[in-house]
């Protein structure tokens, strides 16, 4: 089986019933997709498969042979954050960060699919994702900003608080 993950082609050795989550984390060492509930209820493992957000814990790798998979590692780098990553950083849309990977991949698919800054539509698109820190307002703020195509001053947060250790680049 073959997968293209973040633009890099991989030959997969795991069996076809292995979850895509396990293939990414255990075989390929790509750890942004999180093993949360592992039954489809939390969204922490969501990755983008051929342009669509999918729970990697529910996906048998054999059913996506040949697919293109994108994870957070494929969005940007610490020096050059992608617009979604900048939005999440600027709007302080992560607290503990465990849900952030799944939230960002769902948000990326939403924006790529032409999603607007309509808050109800964003809630609907991210409806399967749980943030146990309950930071939903700022997450929705971030997705709305990314959907609008806002540009971000990465030296300050949206609230105007000077950033010290969030990895933002001026």
């Amino acid at each position: 089986m073959n997968l293209t993950v973040n633009g890099v082609a991989h030959e997969i050795e795991s069996g076809p019933l292995t979850t895509l989550l396990d293939v990414l984390r255990e075989e390929l060492g790509i750890t942004s997709p999180k093993a949360g509930c592992e039954q489809g209820g939390c969204g922490a493992c969501t990755v983008v498969i051929d342009g669509q957000p999918r729970r990697s814990c529910l996906t048998a790798v054999g059913s996506v042979d040949g697919a293109a998979v994108t994870t957070v590692e494929g969005l940007g780098t610490p020096e050059h954050l992608s617009p979604i990553q900048q939005a999440f950083t600027h709007h302080y849309a992560a607290q503990c960060g465990f849900c952030t990977s799944g939230m960002m991949m769902a948000a990326q698919a939403y924006v790529d699919g032409g999603g607007t800054d309509d808050r109800e539509a964003i809630q609907h698109a991210l409806g399967g994702h749980v943030c146990r820190c309950t930071g939903y307002v700022k997450i929705i703020d971030a997705v709305a900003a990314a959907a609008r195509g806002d540009s971000f001053d990465m030296t300050v947060t949206a609230a105007g608080t000077a950033m010290t250790n969030l990895g933002g680049v001026a």
């Binding site: 069996g15 039954q39 939390c42 814990c57 529910l58 054999g62 409806g127 399967g128 994702h129």
Partner: protein, 262 residues
């Protein structure tokens, strides 16, 4: 040592039917949203797994007043269909799950351990759907009600039904990141005026509410009669007592919606 699973990935419906055979020892995987977590949480690995993702069994056809839905069609593709099926599909889980979970998986999955499964069973029972399947004895088409009773030994190919004159859906949900359906009632009125009702969220699979149908002209009586049609169970979402108290309410809501949808 555990024996490795033989994984079969057919590329046509005929190949899927041949590989399924009489179904002995075969676990069918549509979207994987039920089987994969079961395996993750320690269910025994199946001897054979039949992955339907490339079997050519997905798609929705609407022709001459008949709707035909392939077994591997994602539930998300049903959301735009008329009530009761469209609203019922929209009520399943969340967008990501709906795009992955399939009609066949929803209809054929075994009874859930801690929450009911098979939301679409009720809508399709109310629509008097016909299930086309293969297995021992070859291909058959039969009422969905009959198919559900023996679904473990069959490979569903598609379901079809006549577009209803009117349809309605009402559900009682348990809020989560996505909604779990505690109990749901579907109703459809055919072109001849016949009203059919069915429920899911029951012990076992979905059931027609024939006593309620017979009393449909009187909503109160129909709601009370529905309790006699079903077997209610306790699970992690609700008690049988709670379901017994709420089933009549959902029946009345559906009948009211059907009346309003003239």
């Amino acid at each position: 040592m555990t024996q490795a699973t033989e994984v079969l990935i057919p590329s046509t419906p005929d190949e899927a039917a041949r590989l399924f055979g009489d179904g002995t020892g075969v676990t069918v995987i549509g979207g994987g949203t039920i089987v994969l977590p079961d395996l993750t949480y320690g269910a025994p690995k199946p001897a054979k797994a039949l992955l339907l993702s490339r079997a050519g069994l997905a798609g929705v056809g609407r022709e001459g007043g008949t709707v035909t839905i392939g077994a591997a069609t994602p539930i998300a593709e049903l959301v735009g269909l008329p009530a009761p099926l469209g609203p019922c599909a929209a009520n399943v889980a969340d967008g990501e799950i709906r795009s992955q979970a399939t009609l066949g998986g929803n209809l054929c999955a075994g009874t859930g351990h801690d929450a009911p499964r098979g939301d679409l069973q009720g809508a399709l029972l109310a629509l008097d759907a016909v299930a086309r399947s293969v297995g021992s004895g070859g291909e058959t088409s039969e009422p969905l009600e009959d198919f559900l009773a023996r679904r473990d030994s069959r490979l569903l190919l598609d379901v079809s039904f006549a577009e209803p004159a009117a349809g309605a859906f009402a559900a009682l949900d348990y809020p989560h990141t996505h909604e779990y359906t505690v109990l749901a009632v579907s109703g459809a009125r055919g072109a001849d005026g016949t009203v059919r009702l069915a429920a899911t969220g029951l012990a076992g699979h979905g059931w027609r509410l024939r006593s309620a149908e017979a009393a449909a002209a009187d909503h109160e009586a129909a709601g009370a009669a529905a309790v006699a049609d079903v077997r209610l169970g306790d699970d992690a979402l609700a008690s049988a007592w709670y379901r017994e108290k709420t089933l009549p309410v959902l029946v009345r809501r559906v009948l009211t919606k059907l009346e309003e949808a003239v």
